[in-house]
């Protein structure tokens, strides 16, 4: 069991460029969460999928952020026209059944927008 896999570990983009972050949940897990972590805001919920369906995207900035889960083995978080304030560590987590069960996190993607 490789755990939750996130790629890339680090990404540097210029202001206005697009960034796509990838997450592979633990095999057999049916729920995927995306969080963002900064020193100032701490851990912020972004969005949640269960059985590949989007359940709650209330934490997503509406205009430039989007997330998808096209199959049970991966999810993507896309940020269009990145801004310096998007710089953060983006964390993906999965659980078995979709409730607030034991969360297993990936190592995160550190996004730096210059």
């Amino acid at each position: 069991n490789a755990g939750v896999i996130q790629t890339p570990r680090h990404k540097v983009t210029g202001k206005g460029q697009e960034a796509t972050l990838w997450c592979e949940p633990i095999s057999g897990h049916s729920a995927v969460f995306w969080y963002r972590q900064t020193i100032v805001q701490g851990l912020e919920f972004l969005t949640y999928f269960r059985n590949q369906a989007p359940i709650d995207d209330s934490g997503m900035p509406k205009e430039r952020f989007s997330a998808q889960m096209p199959n049970q083995s991966h999810s993507t978080l896309k940020i269009q026209s990145t801004q310096p304030q998007d710089s953060a560590v983006y964390l993906c987590a999965s659980t078995t059944g979709g409730g607030a069960e034991t969360l297993y996190f990936g190592s995160g993607t550190r996004l730096t927008v210059l």
Binding site: F45, R50, G99, E101, Y104, F105
Partner: protein, 108 residues
Amino acid sequence: GDKVKQSPSALSLQEGTNSALRCNFSIAATTVQWFLQNPRGSLINLFYLVPGTKENGRLKSAFDSKESYSTLHIRDAQLEDSGTYFCAAEASNYQLIWGSGTKLIIKP
């Protein structure tokens, strides 16, 4: 105010000593999870708790839903225990409310 308040915010301990971290909740938490974020940034799940206690090696955690708090006790602290400890309370059937963390430094 903070729905999940962690204390202390930072703690420095000598190797081999014991410590207690605490989370107070102003929400009706039904479950609590404790995580360690190690210096590499990985968030490791330590405990998933319904009201009651759990123990794992040198770690012991308790959750009292009536008094709205949870504790994490570390016995015989080791260097590898260094990092930031987070608690997170379940607010709905999937949403977690996170504390702001306790940064723990273990000194040799």
